[in-house]
Symmetry: C2
Subunit: 509 residues, 2 copies
């Protein structure tokens, strides 16, 4: 393993020790040019970023003196108490994130799972410096009123080219929370339209007057059903469906919406198949009871394929098929929140592809690695019956849609979904071996067959994350005690080897 | 007036008749280069965009055949029912918006008041094509965890360099709705902290458990007070404070928050001073009653300096000073929503500068012309007492912050706030003359002394807007019957002359 790392060519060991002048895009492109002659690593893998550092470089404690100065300055005008690392993105590259003190870490957190194809990716750089991008930035349209002439083409060749099966339309937004709230609004409009008797039945005078007073029926007593430990965002509607941690919710008014239990499964899943199946059935039963009995009936259910912020909680395809069946049975919508799971990390482009649904979700929301946001849908009934109902000034962002198109092209060019599936299996197996050696440090390992979307529990989780920095790996947590891996799609087997080796150093400490 | 238009030099009458090849940034820059030799218009004004079309060009009905084809294509994947005009931004320039059929309109709507310094502005183009911008686009950080090393500098030289007096900190977001909801969250956390007895008093066990169930006290029965006809956005919390139109609110669940009457003033304001003062006092009294009596006490009041979406409703500085006094008296926060009024259009950088407040607002929200969003604040108590309370993945966008900095520099370079104040006075006087000639078409003219933030009522408003397109002017409406002008800050006296002349054509029709 270490020999692989040592023999990786096209690496500049002094990468982080360069003088402080900024690395220009031209310098980056020159560096990229050398990719043409890149070595094939010992593993037989072609490195996607041949010029990446060979391994992490730790030159100071983190934060080091330069970072401390910068943090102090920033702290005067911006809240820095959640600051993890003051980054230098012009020196970050591929899977590696740099700071101001010459430290360069293997990044398997990737901006909370939102960097898809590497820092300073050359293909994205081309898209970011294109005339099309400049125009999108400086002439930002109000897309609902004055869309740009090529908006259909940008959608068709980008966002819609990876639309989940069965969904062929999109409503664009600006963040994961925004995407979910837009989907909720579509669900409420759809349900009320159905209750009124169809798209042709107009609002009643009572609907109109009560809506203006925030009262039912115009502002209806309907709800969105979500699950314990779910995370769907932090705006007021999305936060009402978020049930991850008190710190996310405290002191914020919330809608009295129902919360069903998410299955508390035992890992590894296949060893506890019967118990887990019973637990999932219990949760489905309780979900159905809430659908039928909650005082504010749900217009939709929202669920994450893997509960991410809430602690990397998995459920089986059969559970999700059961949810889909319940929504069909009770004529409500099924929204799949793929904000964190989407865009390849689970070894499928969309994680719900793992479920083999017989009918597609009604809406699928996305953000993070897409670098833009929104919801996909297929059923025309989900277009509100009048204009200006689902509307806002910007309604998305062509600049970010252009970037997502470049991300999609890069994913396809390098076949990154398939490679993430394979690298994920390799990494999972390595972690399973480590779990045997260090059973206290890797508990409830999960994510087998889910690409690199892998996590485990640790009783000294925060300690592990902190020590990880010291040995050059940047990792995130989720829930109360999970270590979650969220590497980029360009994370390769030799990165996995390096990660495993560094984790072992931490476990030994 | 017309002679001024005819003698304007550096104009390409065939601007819109060029072949269909895309106008490249280089071509734009070449065109900009001729600015150095630009003529001074007859008015003595130096045109900011000397190469703008001399006047609107109308070649087809709108939408023309090319636009219709493009709209049909887009309609298959994106809701086009609120589409106003299919735009060609690469052919749009300065104050002029182009479509696919060779039509070029003087744009005084400007993407719902969100384009500050002209289409294809050369200075913004430089910022948009800078290495700094490319890095911001392709290495988008999770700002709360991994801010970029120069985030403090970007804030200090950009967003914070125009912070309202007394406010020296910012929390960045992504849209006007988002900015307002972030401000609401800060207000709720502040109020609950105060109720608990200070920042050092920890949450109770009951707070924690009830918050997870969306119940009081953890999810408190507190509110935000807003005004009739207000518009503060369309996410669930912001929509609960929006009271503009039923179509904005119907079928969406809302919080039962209080709505105070916004003064229904008579115009021109100075002719009805006594009546208007009495009306404002009535509204202040009712506001105070709601603060004291509403079942869910307000943590804050939010108000727009000019109610924009709700119909361009004005109130006097004295009314706003009265609101500030009420919030002080009852120890709640005063949030000023400058999403539409901010960034120069009223002849001050922030519209609330017109009020001569003795203490600054607690929070000021912004978006639109800033091309980024967020809220300013000054009081450190508005930083939540723990990290991760006000937090999300992206927490703003350095790319857009860089663009706002370039916008600010352009505004300062050309002294656009002052010039907008002057052009606004000139335009208002011209409209006042037209109002005498066409009293049916210009009723309740308003916005004197408020830069170009001018509106009037019309009983055939939608007809006027439609006919405006036919004579080459793109105008928006607000409320039920207001025509609202929202030109860019580069709108000059000769544009005002042209607008007045075209409006007169419409009124005569």
């Amino acid at each position: 393993m270490t020999s692989l790392l040592r023999t990786a060519r096209c690496v500049r060991p002094a990468f982080a020790a360069r003088p402080a002048s900024r690395i220009t895009p031209i310098a980056l492109r020159r560096r990229y040019a050398s990719a043409a002659t890149a070595a094939v690593a010992d593993s037989g893998e072609q490195p996607y970023f041949p010029d990446e550092p060979r391994e992490p470089i730790i030159q100071t404690s983190i934060p080091g003196p330069e970072s401390k100065k910068a943090i102090e300055r920033l702290g005067k005008v911006f809240d820095t108490r959640s600051l993890n690392m003051m980054a230098d993105y012009q020196r970050s590259y591929g899977n590696y994130i740099a700071d101001l003190d010459g430290n360069v870490l293997l990044d398997v957190y990737a901006q909370i799972a939102s960097i898809p194809v590497g820092y300073n990716n050359a293909s994205l750089q081309l898209a970011a410096t294109s005339p099309e991008m400049a125009s999108a930035l400086i002439n930002r349209p109000a897309l609902g009123n004055f869309p740009q002439h090529d908006w259909a083409e940008i959608l068709e060749t980008g966002i819609l080219s990876v639309a989940p099966k069965g969904l062929d339309q999109v409503f664009t937004g600006q963040s994961g929370s925004d995407a979910n709230e837009l989907a909720y609004k579509a669900a409420f409009m759809w349900k009320r339209q159905q209750q009124r008797g169809g798209a042709d039945v107009d609002f009643s005078a009572e609907d109109i007057s009560s809506a203006m007073n925030n009262q039912s029926p115009g502002a209806p007593d309907l709800s969105i059903l979500s699950f314990t430990s779910a995370f769907h965002g932090r705006l007021f509607g999305s936060l009402s469906t978020t049930r991850s941690k008190p710190i996310h919710k405290l002191d914020i008014p919330a809608f009295d919406w129902p919360q069903a239990p998410f299955p508390a499964l035992k890992y590894p899943l296949d060893q506890f198949a019967a118990e887990n199946a019973a637990e999932e059935q219990r949760c489905l039963d309780e979900t159905e009871r809430l659908i039928k009995e909650w005082h504010a009936p749900p217009a939709a259910i929202i669920v994450e394929p893997v509960q991410s912020e809430g602690g990397d909680n998995h459920a089986s395809p059969s559970f999700f098929r059961g949810l889909r069946a319940l929504t069909k049975k009770h004529d409500i919508l099924f929204i799949v929140d793929e904000v964190q799971t989407g865009v390849g990390a689970t070894g499928k482009f969309w994680a719900h592809e793992h479920w083999n649904l017989t009918s597609p979700p009604d809406m699928v929301t996305f953000s993070k690695k897409a670098q833009t946001a929104g919801y996909y849908f297929g059923n025309n009934e989900l277009r509100p019956n009048k204009p200006y109902r689902q509307f806002n000034t910007w309604m998305g962002d062509p600049a970010r849609a252009i970037l997502f198109r470049a991300i999609i092209q890069e994913i396809e060019r390098l076949n990154l979904v398939e490679s993430t599936a394979q690298t994920g299996d390799y990494l999972y197996n390595g972690l399973a071996r480590l779990a045997e050696q260090y059973p206290q440090d890797i508990q409830n390992l999960r994510g087998r067959g889910q690409g690199t979307f892998i996590a485990w529990d640790s009783h000294r989780r925060d300690d592990v994350l902190r020590k990880g920095k010291g040995v050059g790996i940047n990792i995130g947590g989720s829930g109360e005690r999970a270590v979650r891996l969220r590497p980029m799609l360009i994370f390769q087997r030799f990165h996995a080897d390096l990660l495993l080796e560094r984790l072992e150093r931490v476990f030994k400490s």
